[in-house]
Symmetry: C2
Subunit: 251 residues, 2 copies
DNA sequence: GTTATAATTTCTTATATAGAAAAGGAGGGT
DNA sequence: ACCCTCCTTTTCTATATAAGAAATTATAAC
């Protein structure tokens, strides 16, 4: 057991505050201090500095929230993720075939982080989804596609540390049933989210790998009522075809 | 002259590194250290911590770039900006009238920061613009609309600290000419970007105020060739009408 | 006004940091 | 294969910084 050498204690504490504000905006000093197990005097000093550098914003009512500077960073961060750029033309092509919402995501902190979205051109239904949101691995289409690439050990580790919270009545909350479904995903290469995240929404996802490493996933989302046996088949084939093309580019 | 009390020195240094990586991705330790005037040993320790908390990503070739965690923060940050939520229905309404790209921006660090974008439904031309990008105050439509709300003193301060860099041959680089144009904006309430940021793109913008405070701006962007005397008039009226409606909501 | 509660500042000791220097890679040339 | 150079990483210690208790100031409720 090697002793961890701490460096940047304030930086780590600042990150703790940021993470808390990510989950709970508009909180008072007291609340933040309690939630992060720090004294008020330490907390206010860190918050002052965070406000100074634009990471946090302080409102007139003395509550704190995440700052606009982060929006700038994120824009650059996405630009710096090569995957978004490389995949874009192929996802656009895919959209010409399937006129539905297409998402690109990466694996981040055991969740799917959305980094690009292509909206349908001729459909009028708008789904609420945004770049920057996250979805669990166990119930989203992209998530399951990625989870299916995990080793048995990794899946076990994931299940041991994550509760399968029911988002809808369709959400799979039984680890064994999930494991079985992952077997099917491994066979077919395609993962579904059949109203497991949100009612009426059906998603189909595939993973993206580079040199045996998971680099991300992409998916097609649509209202369930538009799904037919034919469109399902078409989507599966188009996704697998696009996956193959993109992975050839990544190699 | 009250002496500034420093707190969170590492945090401030970390922000300096982040800002550098925002501008220059994929840099080596040496390069980052030199650019930020820090020793390599200090820099690597901060970078290690930044990587640990997900703000920075370290690649196999030992270069550093902004981390995906920032994309999560940004998503929440935008959600926490009430302006985006409040204005959305009105901007959607506006888009039904004018089928062009509509942007919402806020004033951030003397620039316009884009926080929402509504794309045209029936037009096929796609403009490259993203949430998170910034535009100068002196040449963008939203920027000029905001600048026109500055006091003479504030405008002077802005001009003293910012060079009017020519983005295109149409960009106004003469401070006096800009000042004159701002007078017109104050009269009409509407600001133009006539191919001053990008060739072939014409934008019309208005500011948003709450209790005499600038809170943001929004604009319509379109290819110049689509602009007619009639559409220009229509856009101006629709923008001013929408501005009025939104500001009534903000009050 | 009075009281209670929260925000902010001050001050001092314990702690973390900065940077020089040394050690440990990685790569290029011969 | 070996050396040499440049870059990354670790170690170590004087010095600067941070943490927290307590005092002070602001804010809100009554």
């Amino acid at each position: 057991m090697t002793e961890m050498k701490p460096y940047g204690t304030v930086l780590i504490k600042a990150a703790k505050i940021m993470d808390y504000l990510e989950a709970q905006p508009d909180q008072s000093l007291q609340t933040i201090a309690k939630a992060t197990n720090m004294t008020a005097s330490t907390t206010i000093k860190i918050l002052d500095t965070l406000v100074m550098i634009g990471y946090v914003q302080k409102d007139k009512d003395k509550t704190y929230r995440l700052g606009a500077k982060l929006i700038r960073y994120a824009n650059k961060s996405i630009e710096q993720i090569d995957l978004a750029e490389i995949t874009l033309p192929y996802l656009e092509e895919l959209q010409k075939t399937i006129d539905e919402t297409i998402h690109l995501g990466i694996l981040n902190d055991n969740e799917i982080l959305y980094i690009n979205k292509l909206e349908p051109k001729n459909q009028t239904i708008r789904m609420s989804s945004k770049v920057g949101i996250t979805r669990p691995l166990y119930n989203s289409a992209m998530g399951k596609a990625v989870l299916a690439e995990f080793s048995a050990e990794e899946v076990g580790q994931y299940l041991a540390t994550h509760t399968l919270v029911p988002y809808t009545e369709n959400t799979i909350t039984n680890p064994l049933r999930l494991a079985k479904e992952l077997d099917v995903v491994r066979e077919t290469g395609v993962a579904y989210d059949d109203e497991e995240v949100e009612s009426d929404i059906f998603c189909t996802g595939v993973s993206l790998k580079k040199a045996a490493q998971i680099v991300g996933a992409f998916s097609v989302s649509m209202p369930k009522y538009r799904l037919t046996k034919e469109s399902k088949q078409l989507i599966n084939e188009a996704l697998l075809q696009t996956k193959q093309t993109i992975e050839k580019m990544l190699a």
